[in-house]
């Protein structure tokens, strides 16, 4: 990346304070506080069921939190209507694609730009995402439901880009993408962050990619944040290396099915 990245300001775009969300009687996140500063890429790491998706859903208003508050660009968006939140300039790439199966690829993208009024800008961005993912241009008139899994994932990401938001929530963007595309996706994410100054909150199983692309990271375990730091420092921690990057001394977990307990030093 040769271009000079825009500076990360100290002022948070997104601020979660002590947020608690539950599905019926099951508490999925318990008192999560985090913030994302303008212009940065932040990431949340955590194992299966830790509550990453729940955090993102709570931010974009799909689930109402039981407790706590969420602030976006200085105003309170706790438990607001999702449509309102998106109109404030936040867009969300959901887990599991969620395309509009019976609309064409083109219409799907158009819906991504629903909140926008500038048709020129929309046309330009449409061109932009078609250039990122030429296959989408090829299939512009096909129903999105017929795309392959990875193609749908591309569409889902592109759709969020079409909104030209201030903050993008990315839930596992690399899900089901080929290794080559995974890298490309991250390059695109980083590029958008650098070029447009878009702030990004990223949830990703591919911790290697995520930690490299992000500036700041949180580690979530059982609905609680157990660690946070800059990614540069997180990359050096032993637990992170072992459990998220899969780098371990040989033999620790070679043939044996023996799990070392996480300790979070």
């Amino acid at each position: 990346m040769s271009d000079t990245p825009p500076p990360i300001s100290d002022q948070p775009v997104l601020k979660l304070l002590n947020v608690e969300s539950a599905y019926g009687p099951i508490k999925a996140i318990r008192g999560v506080s985090l913030q994302v500063r303008r212009g940065e890429i932040a990431t949340v790491l955590g194992s299966n069921g830790a509550g990453k998706t729940t955090i993102l859903k709570t931010i974009s208003g799909i689930i109402d939190p039981r407790k706590g508050s969420i602030e976006f660009k200085g105003s309170d968006i706790t438990a607001q209507d999702p449509a309102y939140i998106v109109q404030q300039g936040l867009s969300h790439v959901p887990e599991g694609r969620e395309v509009f199966p019976l609309l064409s690829v083109h219409d799907n993208l158009l819906m991504g730009a629903y909140t926008r009024k500038d048709s020129d800008g929309v046309a330009k961005d449409m061109e932009g995402v078609y250039n990122y993912f030429p296959i989408l241009r090829e299939r512009a008139n096909q129903n999105a439901g017929l795309l392959s899994g990875g193609q749908q994932q591309m569409l889902s990401i592109s759709r969020a880009l079409m909104a030209n938001p201030d903050l993008i929530l990315l839930d596992e963007p690399s899900l089901g993408l080929s290794p080559k595309l995974t890298k490309e996706i991250f390059e695109i994410v980083v590029r958008i962050n650098r070029e447009r100054g878009t702030t990004i909150l990223l949830v990703e199983q591919n911790a290697n990619m995520a930690l490299n692309a992000s500036d700041y990271g949180y580690v979530l375990e059982n609905g609680r944040i157990v660690m946070e730091d800059t990614c540069a420092r997180l990359r050096e921690k032993d637990d992170i290396k072992e459990f998220y990057l899969g780098l371990k001394e040989d033999g620790v977990r070679g043939e044996r099915r023996w799990k070392k307990k996480k300790t979070w030093r």
Binding site: Y23, G24, P25, I62, I63, D64, R66, P101, L102
Partner: protein
């Protein structure tokens, strides 16, 4: 809260999961058995109607609640059952034989209706069954030599090899017996592979298929079983009403049947019963209350339809899980009593997805 310490897998497939179940359902059975001596004749007749509708409800529950196929023409099966029973009984066939024929013929008709269900789903299936309902009604009305056409037919009292059930009590016991058997049958189905196949089809056809479930077979089976139960209910209905005419099995009846399971709670066996109780007592309740209302309202034409609609709307709005869902909440509340927390039953935001793709 009740914690059950499980020691073997058999416990999970037992119908009564614990002593409480045994006690309460036993008590219920006892009350039902003593009912003729406990309640007035009028209420006994209502109870008989409840049992009859519960049988039909069980059938529809199997189809709609467990297999996910909504039938808008279920009254047709009721009608086929009722007419078969009427015609055969009047020809002098003993009750059990006539009932078997009624169930069998309904099931056969159900099979036929099930055929389009193999190819269409959702709204298309709804309309297919609706259409079928209209056609059956028309056939009942036109096939005068057998059905007596629109003038309807009277049906004799049930007769079992020389023993005529001419009292309300005897017929009540007959209905009770049939209801209990039908319920046990359904419960058995639901805890065995057949019932699971139904549920699988409801949730995802494509993966049900890849688990080796023969969609066509189970869908038609579900239709046939459901129709057979409706046929049995229809047969009992014919005896209870003693007079049947084609317009008793019209679209409104079909809608009533659907209402019954929705209000009872789609997807639970209890729901069929609660819904039947509701369906029968509701008009009676309106009739009783309206005498105490000012006449301009109480006696106004249309009141019954209005109340009916309001109750239905209220149910869907406030208790989409139906009466049974409400009961579960009350029970949980009682069991948890001091520890009940407010948000526990707060309804999750949920999001509709196209069921054109399933």
């Amino acid at each position: 809260m009740r914690f059950i310490f499980k020691t073997d897998y058999g416990q999970d497939i037992r119908l009564a999961k614990h002593g409480g179940h045994l006690f309460w359902y036993g008590a219920l059975m006892l009350v039902l058995l003593l009912a003729p001596w406990l309640v007035q004749e009028y209420w006994l007749a209502q109870l008989t109607f409840v049992l009859i509708y519960a049988v039909a409800g069980l059938g529809l529950m199997l189809l709609a609640g467990f297999t996910g196929l909504f039938s808008l023409g279920h009254a047709a099966f009721l009608g086929v059952g009722a007419y078969t029973q009427a015609v055969l009984t009047n020809m002098g066939l003993p009750f059990p034989l006539a009932l078997a024929c009624a169930a069998g013929l309904s099931a056969a008709v159900g099979l036929v209706v099930g055929l389009p269900a193999l190819r269409v789903k959702g709204i298309y299936l709804g309309i297919a069954t609706l259409s079928f309902g209209f056609i059956v009604e028309e056939v009942l009305a036109r096939w005068e030599s057998v059905t007596g056409g629109n003038s309807g037919i009277h049906i004799k009292k049930p007769d079992m090899f020389g023993w005529t059930l001419d009292s309300g009590e005897a017929f009540y016991f007959l209905c009770l017996l049939i209801t209990v058997l039908a319920t046990l049958g359904i419960l058995n189905l639901l805890r065995s592979p057949t019932g699971r196949a139904f549920v699988a089809i409801r949730d995802s056809e494509i993966s049900a298929q890849s688990m080796g479930i023969h969609l066509a077979y189970y869908k038609t089976l579900s239709f046939a079983l459901s129709a057979a139960l409706a046929g049995i209910a229809g047969a009992l209905y014919a005896h209870q009403l003693q007079f049947i005419s084609p317009d008793q099995f019209n679209i409104l009846q079909s809608i009533d049947l659907l209402l019954m399971i929705v209000i009872g709670g789609v997807g639970s066996v209890h729901g069929a019963f609660l819904g039947a109780i509701f369906l029968i007592t509701m008009p009676q309740a309106i009739a009783m209350v309206k005498d105490y209302l000012p006449p301009t309202i109480g006696q106004a034409p249309g009141l019954q339809g209005l109340v009916y609609g309001v109750v239905l709307v209220a149910f869907v709005l406030f208790e989409p899980l139906g009466l049974y869902g409400r009961w579960l909440k009350v029970r949980t509340y009682l069991q948890m009593f001091p520890f009940y927390r407010k948000g526990m039953f707060k309804r999750q935001k949920s999001f509709q997805k196209s069921d054109r793709l399933k």
